[in-house]
């Protein structure tokens, strides 16, 4: 699944570790989502969307 997580995180000038802490996951999870190796669970996708004040579809897009 494609996503804009890296772009949104960079816009906020957060490191992967900062974002991981805000989402309550490991830095490796954030990295794996950004590199599109791992698709987040629905609850995590909602957390991401809420954090960036966007809808899930605006951040994640099926390939």
């Amino acid at each position: 699944m494609k996503n804009r997580l890296r772009e949104l995180r960079s816009a906020k000038e957060w490191s992967q570790a900062d974002l991981a802490e805000k989402l309550g996951v490991s830095r490796q999870t954030v990295n794996a989502i950004e590199t599109e190796k791992y698709d987040p669970s629905l609850p995590l996708a909602f957390k991401v969307a809420k954090l960036f004040k966007a809808s899930i579809e605006e951040i994640f897009e099926p390939e």
Partner: protein, 184 residues
Amino acid sequence: MKSETNPLFRALLAGSVTYLLGLAAMASEFRGAIAKEVLTVLLFPLGPAAIIATAVNLNSMPPAMKKYFWRFTAGTLAYVVGLVLANRIYAPDLRYRYWLILLPVIPIIFVVAAIVRGVSDMDEMKRKIVTDAAAFACLATGFTCFSYLFFRDMGAPEFHAEWAFYLMWLYYLIGLFFSWRRYR
């Protein structure tokens, strides 16, 4: 500048020394002595435990992991006590000897419950890595054991139950490596 030893190096050193002490206790000549049994069964699990505990700073652990760590340690220690007791009390003519041998199984149920709860409390990607590895280990062990029966029927040595346990860990480590590499 303050120089500090690498925590991983300290962990490896502490764990290896403890493990070697366990090995020395096992090889010692004190046959039947309770000290030997206690040293052997305590030091073997404590070796890897020392490595994990030192490598992972307990204070920086998330609360759920800390809870898991203590549950796991308590269960393992209870298992060790059960093992020593069962070994000390066991006699071939004892009426309840089969039940006695099952004594250490009770804390193992607690350990398994702690592991299952620990896995469900994990970070979601780590949980996926671990469950993928566990699924691989479970299936690979099952199929290897079953396939070995054909070799046994052709004259290979009888299958020992403990082989399945070692195989399962070997496959789990292989699965963990490949699963971890996939999401790296």
